[in-house]
């Protein structure tokens, strides 16, 4: 399951969470993008890298501290998409 932050829920039909089948984080984001086209571009730059202020957590671990987008996703795990604490952004959170 992927849990989405407030600003992205409109793109997912106001869903806070989306069920996907995936073996890695990359596959999970690809699946999310197939279901809601354009979602990957909100999370990743054209270079393929995760956007600088976007964080994806596998349960409580930031995937940047694991294997990045190639991090394996166990069955039943939850991915949390959150943006960085960057100060004073309550209006968009």
């Amino acid at each position: 399951m992927i849990r989405l932050p407030g600003p992205l829920r409109e793109r997912a039909g106001q869903r806070a969470a989306v069920q996907v089948e995936a073996a890695t984080v990359r596959e999970a984001l690809d699946a999310l993008d197939r279901r809601f086209p354009g979602m990957r571009f909100c999370l990743c730059e054209e270079t393929g890298r995760l956007r600088p202020y976007v964080n994806v957590f596998l349960e409580t671990e930031n995937i940047r501290d694991l294997q990045g987008l190639e991090t394996p996703v166990p069955d039943g795990a939850t991915l949390h998409v959150l943006h960085s604490v960057a100060g004073g952004v309550g209006a968009v959170a």
């Binding site: 600003p7 992205l8 793109r11 086209p37 354009g38 571009f41 909100c42 999370l43 730059e45 054209e46 270079t47 393929g48 890298r49 956007r51 202020y53 976007v54 943006h83 960085s84 960057a86 952004v89 209006a91 968009v92």
Partner: protein
């Protein structure tokens, strides 16, 4: 179903892009103004424009803090917004990633579905369906000097787009800090148009490219005439950019960002220049006007603030005129004040305060 928002014919609409959203100011008489917004609240709206060709479609360069940049559009004056089906993006795996969208510019009057956008990294994007899909101009990206382009302080941004009104093969773009470029074959190839413009910050003062052009605007009646406010002076070309003549004359500074002109009297041009602190020169916030295409500049101060603590700046898209005669002139500051003149700049009134820092002001008469 929400009622579609409309305004009476003749209403002046100011689309004001700010660091934290888009505001619309409207007036029937240019005396009393009504503010509406913020739309796209919290977003960095670098530029917004109401495209009268497409049923008053409102385009906004929406640079979110986290989840990417998009040109969004609204057909109900900001009440609801649509996302492009194919947004502005560089080719995947090409090494470039979109940082910001700086400008959205409607195309020619007889091509109502065509809209252009300029970005950082510097690139020109075209929509042929009024904003639903966008495509990269490959010719500009393939320019043989592309790898040597350097950013200005604001980034490597394509900040101005000017189309030739009748020749569909000719247009100009301005990039900071690259300079002005022109195509004569519909965007397949581009040539530099920087002869006569200075780059004081480079070892060579008059290079082929590397100039930091801040704003490029067209003459409404003579497509061979364009004006630019540059990092190093104000210039005019009378030969479509083949060469430029400096017209800074008696301006107190070379440095400024915005530029505008009176569409009914196009020898009347406006700028705001700044000192080395990037705010007004001296204690008086001043708009400068020339009625003779830059030979002599007048200080316009009536109604504008003065004082030891007055330190205002105006960004490159922060000034515009409307199409009335006498024209209205509008100036938004990077500290959130919006000043308006309904008499070609002779006198001014603050029509909004406490806005977020203003990035852009664009006027449309409905």
């Amino acid at each position: 179903m929400p009622v579609r928002r409309t305004y009476p014919k003749g209403t002046v609409v100011l689309a004001v892009g700010t660091k934290r959203g888009l505001f619309l100011l409207t007036s029937r008489d240019r005396r009393a103004w009504r503010a509406d917004g913020p739309h796209l609240a919290g977003r960095r709206v670098f530029h917004a424009v109401l495209d009268a060709r497409n049923g008053a479609r409102l385009f906004a360069a929406d640079n979110g803090d986290f989840y990417g940049s998009f040109v969004r559009y609204s057909d109900d004056f900001g009440r609801t917004w649509k996302d492009p089906v194919r947004p502005i993006a560089f080719p995947e795996g090409g090494g470039l990633a979109l940082k910001n969208i700086w400008i959205v510019e409607p195309g020619r009057a007889d091509e109502p579905k065509i809209v252009y956008a300029g970005t950082d990294p510097a690139a020109l994007f075209t929509s042929r369906d009024a904003g639903r899909t966008w495509e990269l101009n490959e010719g500009l990206q393939r320019h043989h000097t592309r790898s040597r382009w350097q950013p200005g302080a604001g980034g490597l941004c394509l900040n101005s787009i000017v189309v030739h009104p009748t020749n569909p093969r000719r247009m100009w773009v301005a990039i900071s800090a690259v300079g002005v470029m022109r195509t004569d074959d519909g965007g397949q190839t581009w040539t530099f148009c920087n002869k006569g413009t200075r780059a004081d910050f480079l070892p060579e003062k008059y290079p082929e490219f590397g100039q930091c052009v801040h704003r490029l605007i067209p003459h409404p009646g003579n497509p061979d005439v364009l004006y630019q406010q540059n990092h190093c002076g104000v210039y005019v070309t009378t030969n479509a950019g083949n060469s430029w003549t400096e017209i800074g004359g008696n301006l107190p500074s070379d440095f400024g960002f915005p530029m505008a002109l009176d569409p009914h009297h196009p020898a009347t041009i406006y700028t705001v220049v700044e000192d080395e602190t990037r705010s007004n020169v001296g204690d008086q916030f001043t708009v400068y006007r020339s009625t003779d295409a830059g030979r002599r500049w007048q200080r316009l101060t009536r109604g504008l603030p003065k004082g030891r603590t007055v330190r205002l700046g105006v960004l490159r898209a922060g000034m515009c005129t409307d199409t009335h005669d006498p024209c209205g002139v509008y100036v938004g500051t990077n500290t959130g004040q919006l000043f308006a003149s309904r008499n070609r700049g002779d006198s001014w009134k603050m029509i909004a305060d406490y806005l977020p820092p203003i990035y852009s002001v664009a006027a449309t008469v409905l």
